[in-house]
Amino acid sequence: MLDKRMTAADIVGQIESGMTIGIGGWGPRRKPMALVRELLRSDVTDLTVVAYGGADVGMLCAAGKVKKVIFAFVSLDAIPLEPWFRKAREAGGIDVLEMDEGMFQWGLKAAAFDLPFLPTRVGLGTDLAELGGFKTITSPYADGETLIAMPAIPLDIALIHVNRSDWRGNVQVFGPDVYYDEWFAKAAKRAFVSCEELVDRIEDHYPDDAQSNLFERCFVTGVVEVPGGAHPTSMPPHYGWDMAALKQYAAAAREPGDWTSVADQFVDESEDAYMKRNGGWEAVAKLPLPIF
């Protein structure tokens, strides 16, 4: 289908319990939170979540949706330790595959190229190999070097939030850094994007932004327009992260510390209700961009 427009519910309807899902963005940045919230409203469970993690991972763990997390870190940046992920880990019962940030992209690239692994030196000399069950391989060339065979991380589904898309899935991604979103898209059997702005034919409206086409539309299965869809994470140049909301979210992990008692606050019954609770789109649009 060339017309890839869907609703968030349609997209989440394609996610089945037990699947491996990759989530784009980085820590508290550019996370497809509207799609994560829709996932939190569903009855899907037993997920393997692959992410440079932030509140996406924390919320899914808190809501009991997660069987396993594949990660290099989970952090809200200004709040270094993601409180709900931390809580879930310290309670035990969540499987993990922990790796270096660079190995992580290597695993996504291996999956994108349909390779079983890519060799790397990274991880040697640490506890990662033993804990993650990573095997080594000997270089077949004269150097004979022992390397870690970083296994591919194939994804059933990838969820990505972009600035702009058209109905055919031509995306444009702005902001100073776009992280590894393109590799999430390519490592997945099906990638779904939410966008701040959906336009008709992107070439008619924004041809000058063509260099911002981060990945090609053949890697996009479905697209949905959700202004503010990254809230409370940042989405430059549209809006910064909502530190007040993130602090509230973090505080809720301590008191009362029970997700069900605060889930409404961070998910609510619908995206419209969620936005209203957070002051509406106008308030989100005014969130200042972070300064580093």
């Binding site: 980085w26 993690g53 990660f71 290099a72 870190f73 989970v74 952090s75 270094p80 330790l81 992920f85 931390r86 880990r89 310290e90 309670a91 035990g92 019962g93 499987d95 993990v96 922990e98 790796m99 270096d100 940030e101 660079g102 190995m103 992209q105 030196r121 990274v122 991880g123 040697l124 000399g125 640490t126 506890d127 990662l128 190999a129 804990l131 080594t136 000997t138 004979g144 070097e145 022992t146 390397l147 100073p176 850094d177 776009v178 992280y179 590894y180 200042p288 961009l289 300064i291 580093f292």
Partner: protein, 265 residues
């Protein structure tokens, strides 16, 4: 001019880690290391490369703390996807970081403490980029509180960054990139220049004794033959530090913000 603080002394000491490093990316994570990298670039090693703390390369170190967003002047571009390609995996970087634990082999931990990997007692950040950083490029460390909780007896709870532990050298692996440089703390400056890369005290902050440092460390330290007193920054250096940290964030790094000469307490 007010007397230099201990944090400012640490900034000067930390900046020395980057001296003569050449055209590599100097990354300082946290107020003291970041200010130190900026100080190094503005004084003795102008060829250093540096980011704005996000993804643009800048030739003018970006001050820490609140300011107008557009104050940053990008001269180059180093987003995450290029960070590994251009800096980490090509060895063109020197990072100064603050892990939670460090052991006598220079192995560091940022992942979890206590319990098991399946169920940690305290979950921390995760290994982040430490495995790659440690096996590819130089690394240095800053610790605002020199204690046995940081410098642990035995080995760290989870080895997140590779060090000089012979037991962790897998046969045939290439460990030539492991290059641990300096450790700056509130008490002293150390390096890995002892026997078999043992941690060695190379300078003591004013008023601090080696015994004090040893008592606050969980493993045995060596003392350099020519151990010096860590230099106190002069007025010119303090002025540069003030431009890099206009909001005096550095005053919050070490408890009670003691003067440089008051480290002994």
């Amino acid at each position: 001019m007010a007397e230099a603080t201990l944090a400012e002394l640490c900034i000067l000491a930390a900046s020395e880690a980057f001296r003569g490093n050449g055209e590599i990316v100097a990354t300082g994570v946290g107020p003291v290391p970041r200010t130190a990298a900026g100080l190094a670039k503005l004084t003795h090693t102008p060829e250093l490369m540096m980011t704005d703390g996000e993804c643009y390369l800048v030739e003018q170190p970006v001050p820490i703390g609140p300011r107008a967003y557009d104050d940053r002047k990008p001269a180059g571009y180093l987003p995450f996807s290029r960070f590994f390609d251009s800096a980490v995996w090509t060895r063109r970087r020197h990072a100064m970081v603050t892990p939670t634990q460090l052991d006598r082999f220079g192995q560091i931990n940022l992942s979890y403490m206590g319990g098991t990997h399946a169920q940690p007692k305290v979950q921390m950040l995760g290994v982040r980029g430490f495995p790659g950083n440690s096996i590819y490029h130089p690394n240095s460390f800053f610790f605002p509180v020199h204690s046995k909780r940081v410098f642990v007896e035995g080995e760290v709870d989870m080895i997140s960054g590779a060090g000089y532990n012979p037991a962790k050298r897998k046969a045939g692996g290439n460990f030539s990139g492991i290059d641990l440089r300096r450790i700056v703390t509130n008490l002293c400056v150390m390096d890995f220049g002892g026997a078999d890369n043992a941690v060695r005290v190379i300078s003591l902050h004013p008023g601090v004794t080696f015994d004090q440092v040893q008592d606050a460390t969980g493993f045995e330290l060596e003392l350099a033959d020519d151990v010096a007193q860590t230099p106190v920054p002069d007025a010119e250096t303090l002025a540069i530090i003030a431009t890099l940290d206009p909001h005096n964030v550095r005053s919050k790094v070490i408890k009670d913000n003691p003067p440089a000469t008051g480290a002994a307490g």
